[in-house]
Point group: C2
Chain length 614, copies 2
C-alpha cells in the first residue's frame, strides 16, 4: 500500500541512464533557477524606501543612487559568477570556489551558510506567497502557516518526481511574471516620459536633509541588497544544464541579470517619480501598479497575481540548489553519503526531503513571519559571495590567464562590496543577525565530526594485508553454530538440520524460566530423544528477558572458539507468517536479539526463515 502511495506521488522509477534526459534547456533553467532572484523585486525597492522614510520624505531621493550602487554590485556579482561558471563547470558555486582557492575550511563556511540559506529561501518565499494569498482572501488569514506548509509539500513532491517535470510546471508563473512586469514597467516609464503621469517626487535629487549620514546610507543600501539573493543559484546548478553546460549556464545567468536589473531599476525609478511611500496596508509594487493602470482594475490584479505566483515558485530555487550542494559536501565527506543517493526519479531524494523538513520547521518556529528573517538571510547569502569572489582573485593570480588583472579587479569590487555589506548588516542589524554566530560553528562542528568519522572508517576498512602480508587472516579450522531453541517445532528441527550443514559443531541453547519447570523438563526430554547427537544447553533466567542469558552464553562460546580457531554463528530460527499483519501475533524478540548480539565481536548472526503456508 505504501508502495502504491509512493508511486502515485512520485511516479514510476527511472533507469539510471535516463538521467541525462532530465537536463535543462536555457528557457527551462531560467524558469527553474531565476524565480528567487526575480521575485525579490517585489520587496527590494520597498526595503530601501522603508529605511529612507525614517529620515523624512526628503531622504527618498537617495533611492536612486542606492539603486545604482546595487546595480553595480549586481554587475560585479554576475560577471564574477560568469567567470566562476566557466572556471568550475561541475558546479558547486561558492562552496567549490572557496574550498579550492581559500582551502577546505573556508569552503565549509560558504557551504554551511548556503545550506541554511536555502532552507530560509524556501521558508521565506512560501510564507510570503501564503501572505499574498491571505491578503487577497482575508478569510484564510488564520491558515497562513498551514498554507505555507502545503506549498512546501507540493514543491517537495514535484521535485521528487524529477526536475524536468517540475520545470514544465513552473515555467508558466515565471514567464507570466516577466511579461506582466515588463509591460507594467514599460507602460509606467512611457507615461512618465510623455507626461501622462506627472512628476510627483517627494524631493529633488541632491536635496540636503538633517539625518544624512554614512550609517543611514549604508543601512538603506544593505536593506536593498536583499534584491540580490538568489543570484548564485545558477552557478550551483551548472551540471543540470544541457551540453554545452557552461555556455548555457552563463547566458542564462546574464539573461536573468538583465531582466532583474531592468525590473529593479524601473520599479525604483517609478517609485521615485510617483513619490511613493510604503505603508502597512499596501506595498510599493501595488501602489505603482495602481498609479500606472489608474486604479484597481485588470492590470492591477494581474500584477498582484503574478507576484503571488512567482513567490510560490521562488521557494523552488532552494529545491534545485540545496540537493546539489549537499551532494558536493557529501562527496567531500562532510555530509552523510545518503545525500548522494538518487531516488526512483533520479532526484537526490534525501536532500529534497531534508530541505523540506528544515523549511517546514523554520516556518512553524517563526510563524511564517518573513520580515525578521530577511537580514539573517542576507548575511547567509553575502558571506559566501565574499568568500567565492575573493577566492576568484586567488584563482586568477595562480593561473594568470590573459587579462587576469582586469578579471581580478571585477572580483575585487564584488568581494569588497559583499564584505562591506556583511559588516553593515552585523553593525546595523545585530538583533536579527545574531543566530548566524551560533549556526555557523554548529554547522562546522558537524561537518568536521562527519569528515573525521569517514576518514577513520575508510582507514579501518582498507585491506590490512595489502601493506603487511603477515596480517592475512588464517583460514578457520572449523565452525561452531549455536541454535536458539524455545520449543521443539518443525522450525527448530529444520534450523538444526541447517546448522549441521554449515557447522562442524552444533549447540542447541534454550532459556528456561522459573514459572514452568514441568514444561522445561519436557522440552529437554523431547529434544534429547529427537536430536541425540546435538548438545542441549539450558540456561536459566530469573527475569523474563531472554537477551541477557543468551548474550552471556554466546560470549562464553565465542571465547572458547577463539582457542580452537572456529568461526561462530548464532542461528535464530524464525517462522514467517503468510501475511505481514500476522507478525504482530508473534514474539518479536528476534529483532531485539539481533541488535544485542551485533555488539559482540567475531560473531555471525544467521536467521533461518521458515515460511508458513497458511
Amino acid at each position: 500500500m505504501f508502495r502504491n502511495l509512493k508511486r502515485f506521488i512520485i511516479g514510476k522509477p527511472l533507469k539510471t541512464l535516463e538521467a541525462s534526459d532530465q537536463a535543462l534547456s536555457k528557457s527551462k533553467a531560467l524558469a527553474l533557477l531565476s524565480s528567487d532572484a526575480l521575485s525579490s523585486v517585489a520587496y527590494g525597492t520597498e526595503s530601501i524606501t522603508a529605511v529612507l522614510l525614517a529620515g523624512g520624505a526628503a531622504a527618498l531621493w537617495l533611492q536612486l543612487p542606492i539603486a545604482c550602487l546595487i546595480l553595480v554590485l549586481l554587475a560585479a556579482i554576475v560577471l564574477s559568477y560568469r567567470q566562476i561558471i566557466h572556471a568550475y563547470p561541475n558546479g558547486g558555486g561558492a562552496y567549490t570556489v572557496a574550498s579550492q582557492n581559500w582551502g577546505a575550511n573556508v569552503g565549509l563556511v560558504a557551504g554551511g551558510s548556503l545550506l541554511v540559506d536555502y532552507m530560509l529561501t524556501v521558508a521565506v518565499s512560501a510564507s510570503a506567497a501564503a501572505d499574498a494569498i491571505t491578503a487577497a482572501i482575508p478569510s484564510l488569514l488564520h491558515f497562513a502557516v498551514p498554507m505555507s506548509i502545503v506549498i512546501i509539500l507540493i514543491l517537495t513532491s514535484m521535485n521528487l518526481r524529477g526536475l524536468r517535470e517540475s520545470a514544465n510546471f513552473l515555467m508558466v508563473p515565471v514567464y507570466f511574471f516577466i511579461v506582466v512586469m515588463a509591460v507594467t514597467v514599460a507602460y509606467g516609464v512611457y507615461q512618465a516620459a510623455t507626461g501622462a503621469i506627472p512628476y510627483h517626487a517627494a524631493a529633488r535629487i541632491g536635496t540636503d536633509f538633517s539625518g544624512l549620514s554614512l550609517i543611514f546610507f549604508l543601512r538603506a543600501f544593505s536593506s536593498g541588497s536583499s534584491s540580490l539573493t538568489g543570484v548564485e543559484a545558477i552557478s550551483n546548478a551548472v551540471p543540470n544544464f544541457k551540453a554545452p553546460k557552461e555556455k548555457h549556464a552563463a547566458s542564462t545567468l546574464t539573461m536573468m541579470a538583465i531582466i532583474l536589473a531592468s525590473f529593479f531599476f524601473g520599479i525604483t525609478f517609478l517609485s521615485y517619480w510617483d513619490g511613493i511611500r510604503p505603508n502597512a496596508s499596501s506595498t510599493v509594487l501595488s501602489q505603482i501598479a495602481s498609479i500606472t493602470y489608474g486604479g484597481h482594475g485588470f492590470g492591477f490584479y494581474m500584477v498582484q497575481l503574478a507576484t503571488t505566483l512567482i513567490l510560490a515558485v521562488a521557494a523552488n530555487t532552494g529545491f534545485s540548489a540545496f540537493p546539489v550542494l549537499a551532494v558536493n559536501l557529501a562527496k567531500d565527506k562532510y555530509l552523510p553519503h545518503l545525500f548522494m543517493d538518487r531516488g526512483d526519479r533520479l532526484g537526490y531524494s534525501n536532500g529534497i526531503l531534508s530541505l523540506s523538513i528544515g523549511a517546514i520547521i523554520l516556518t512553524v518556529i517563526f510563524h511564517g513571519s518573513t520580515d525578521n528573517l530577511i537580514p539573517l538571510y542576507a548575511v547567509g547569502v553575502f558571506v559566501p559571495f565574499t568568500l567565492s569572489q575573493s577566492g576568484m582573485i586567488i584563482h586568477w593570480y595562480r593561473n594568470r590567464p590573459k587579462f587576469w588583472l582586469g578579471k581580478a579587479t571585477i572580483n575585487f569590487v564584488g568581494a569588497f562590496m559583499s564584505a562591506a555589506l556583511v559588516l553593515v548588516l552585523f553593525f546595523t542589524r545585530f538583533s536579527h543577525v545574531w543566530p548566524y554566530v551560533f549556526i555557523m560553528p554548529a554547522d562546522l562542528t558537524v561537518f568536521f565530526k562527519i569528515k573525521k568519522h569517514y576518514t577513520a572508517v575508510s582507514k579501518q576498512l582498507r585491506l590490512q594485508y595489502l601493506n603487511n602480508p603477515k596480517q592475512k587472516q588464517e583460514p578457520y579450522a572449523g565452525s561452531t553454530a549455536i541454535v536458539l531453541v524455545s520449543n521443539l517445532t518443525q522450525v527448530t528441527a529444520e534450523a538444526i538440520n541447517y546448522a549441521e550443514s554449515v557447522a562442524t559443531k552444533v549447540i542447541a541453547m534454550h532459556v528456561s524460566f522459573d514459572i514452568r519447570p514441568e514444561k522445561e523438563a519436557k522440552i529437554a526430554a523431547q529434544f534429547a530423544e529427537n536430536f541425540p547427537d546435538v548438545r542441549y544447553v539450558d540456561v536459566h533466567s530469573s527475569y523474563r528477558s531472554i537477551v541477557k542469558p543468551i548474550i552471556g552464553f554466546v560470549t562464553k562460546v565465542s571465547n572458547q572458539s577463539k582457542k580452537t580457531n572456529h568461526s561462530v554463528t548464532v542461528v535464530i530460527p524464525q517462522f514467517v507468517p503468510k501475511k505481514s499483519w500476522q507478525n504482530i501475533l508473534h514474539n518479536q524478540s528476534s529483532l531485539r536479539l539481533r541488535t544485542a548480539l551485533s555488539g559482540l565481536d567475531n560473531i555471525s548472526i544467521s536467521t533461518y526463515y521458515y515460511h508458513l503456508s497458511e
Copy 2:
C-alpha cells in the same frame, strides 16, 4: 538514555518469582477495585431524577421504588458474582463463565464487550475527574481534555510500576471518599429523623401523574443502572488476591456492595426528602451536601474534593481489569500472545499500554464528553452481566450441588433484570447505543481471525515426522554461501573467510551500475587477484536499487542448490560503527535487503559483523 528514562518512570526490573509479593490484601483490593463502582453514586441518583423530572415534579417520588429495584438488581448481581468467584477462582469473570457454560462464541461476546467497556471506564472517569477540577478552577476550562490525558498517563505509569505500589497510592482517595460520604449520609439522615431538616419532598409517595407509563418508568430505571457499573471488576481480578483468593475476593465484593448500597440508597432518600431537582449548574450530590452542611462551608468542599479524587481513581479500575481479561483472551488464542508478556515490574505491560492508548483516543474523539457515552457504557456492562448470570444457571443445572435450585433462581433474577435492562437501553436510547452494533461484530471478527491464525500456525509448526517418519528431512549434502560484495575491504575479506568456514561452495556477488564502468572493472580485477578461488559474479542493474538483482540471483542459486541438496546462506558483511549515531552516515540497505530476502524459501541470512574500533 531511553533505558534510563524507562527506569525512572517504571523502576528497576523485578525477578519473575517476586510476583507473589505483589498480591493484594482485602483493604488494598477494596481501594484498587471498588473505586469505579463507588464513584458511580456521584451520578447514579442524578441520572434517575433527570429522567423523572421530564414527567413533572410530581414524578420525583418514583426515585424511591426505582432505587429499591436497583438494590434488588445489585443484590442479585453481587450474590451471583460471589458464586462465580467460588466457582471460578482463576478469575476471568463474565468471559470465563460465559465461555464455559454457553460456549466459546458467547464468551467472546462478553469478553469483547468488557474490553471496550474498560476503555470507556478509563475515558469516562478521567474526563469526569477533569470536569470536576475545571468546575473548581474555571480558568482551566480549556485544558479539560489535556488534563484527562495527563490523568490517564499518570495512571499508566503507576500501573507499569506494579500493582502493590499503585494500591498504596490509591487507598487514600478511596477511603477518604468512603469516610466523607458515610459522614454526610449519616448526618443528613440524622437531621431528617430529628426534624432538623424539614420534609420538603416535591410529591408524596404514590401521587398519580399524567405521564406515568411503563416506558417512562423503565427509562428512569435504566438510567439509574449506571450506578452498578464496575461491580464485576473484583471477580475478574481474583488471581491478584492474597491466598485464600476466593474467600478474600468474595468478602471484598460483599463489603463493597454494602458500602455502595448504603451510599446509593442514602443519597436517593435525601434527594427525595430534600426535594432536590438536578440542574445544569449543580449536581444532586452537591445540593445534598449544601443542605446537609448548611451552605458552602468546610463539609461542602470536602464532599466535592472527595468526589473529584475518587473519579480520578475510578479510572484505575480499568487498568486492573483490562490486562487480566486480555491475558485470558490471549491464553485462549483470541488476542495476540504479547498480552501475556509480563513487563519489568511484572505488570502485563502490553495490556496496560493498549488500554491507555484506547482510552486516550476515546477521550480525544469525544472531547471528554461523558454524558453521551454512559448509555453505551451501560450496554457494554449489562450484556456480559446477562451472559455470565444465565451461564451460571447452566452451571448449577450441570453440577446440581446442594440448594442448586435456589442458587439458580438468584442467577435467573439477575440475568432476567440485566437482559431487560439491555433491551430497555436499546429501545429507549438507540441514538447513543448504536455503535455497539458495529463494535461487537468487529471485535468478534478480529478474535476469530487471530484464533484461526494461531491454530493454523501451531498445526504447521508441529514436527511433521512424528506422525510420518518418512517425512524426516534428509541431512544436507553440502552448503552454498553467497557473499554480497560492494567493495573490496577488510570487512569483505573477513566475511569471505567466514563464508569459507561454513560453506562447501562460496560465491561472491556484486551489483554493478551504469554510471561507473571503470570502477566496476577495477573491483573485479582486485577481487580476482585477492580471492582467486572464489567465484565472482557481477550482476548488472539499470536502476539504483540493489535489492531486485540480488533477489533474482539468490533465487537462481537456491533453485540449483535444491538439486544438489545444498543449504543456502546469504552472507551480508556489515560494519558496526563505534557509536550508534554514526549509523546514519552509512548505507542502511542491509535492513531492506534482509526484509526482501526473508520472503524467499529455504534461505538463511547471515550477517557478518565487523566492529570498527575508532
